[in-house]
Assembly symmetry: D3
Homo-oligomer: 68 residues x 6
Amino acid sequence: MELSARNKIRGTITEVKIGSVMAKVAVKIADGTIISSMITIDSVEDMNLKVGDEVFAIVKSTEVMIGK
Amino acid sequence: MELSARNKIRGTITEVKIGSVMAKVAVKIADGTIISSMITIDSVEDMNLKVGDEVFAIVKSTEVMIGK
Amino acid sequence: MELSARNKIRGTITEVKIGSVMAKVAVKIADGTIISSMITIDSVEDMNLKVGDEVFAIVKSTEVMIGK
Amino acid sequence: MELSARNKIRGTITEVKIGSVMAKVAVKIADGTIISSMITIDSVEDMNLKVGDEVFAIVKSTEVMIGK
Amino acid sequence: MELSARNKIRGTITEVKIGSVMAKVAVKIADGTIISSMITIDSVEDMNLKVGDEVFAIVKSTEVMIGK
Amino acid sequence: MELSARNKIRGTITEVKIGSVMAKVAVKIADGTIISSMITIDSVEDMNLKVGDEVFAIVKSTEVMIGK
């Protein structure tokens, strides 16, 4: 399935921290920046996300701000 | 001012397209990925955003999805 | 690619309205409700979205409110 | 009060899971799809949300992606 | 209808600017701050929003960042 | 750093509640309204957010709805 969200940044999971209903997934991208993602624990389980997985951090364009 | 949004990815503006009330700002990051941002034309004008500017694409963690 | 966003509602595109940088895509779901989506015109063009297409309206769980 | 958010999908709560500060509320809509919503535990308590409640899952148009 | 979004800030509309598919609605709140809202032109028309209207600017808690 | 997010409302932190991965930060603004923010516990720790801090509640325009 193709997705309208335009931003897909390739990286590797460096941390998965399971909370009560939400989980933190950290993804290291090419320039070394760590991307922090907060998703449901349901998705972490269904997708079997774990440290070392090659994934994409995906963001809808309307959610991206610019800092200068 | 320090900001709680955890994701700040450094890059260079490669395109600014002004719409009627919204504008598209494209930012090229280190690995060559283009990040697409949709912000108000008011912010583009106030910040004087233009092609070649060194900026950060900023995203709140709750807005980041994972694709695998 | 599997996506962490948990909400994927099947429907048919009933309207595509191209704006200056954003576009409106309306999707009719099973119970007749029309889902309104605002995405970039870039995505509408890349995905060649048009009236009659079978698609999914996709929403991250943190973006869903409850009304009672 | 009328709300600008255009997407209001009718359904029935099938699960409420209380976390530490966030809660998961699952809503079954007409076609059987389960909508997952992550809201504050404060809202779950104030609105007294519980399994069986007839509610609306509400989403702002700018938060809806399209998958094809 | 009661809404789970916890942040409802009272104010007066000071500007409505209609774009191609999106519209900007500016709301002046008690301390003089102008809140900028980007919603669909469909909502502006359906709700007949105009300068001088007493309204609420409404934001889901997961969308609020902190700056210090 | 200047930020494209247009809405910055000044206030004082009245509550910090640490969850498992997310935290609730409540901010009282000039008219007495309490703004509820859900951010990562990582940000609360890095910014050392605590009751009594003078802060800004910051919201991207595309995240603001209107109620009338």
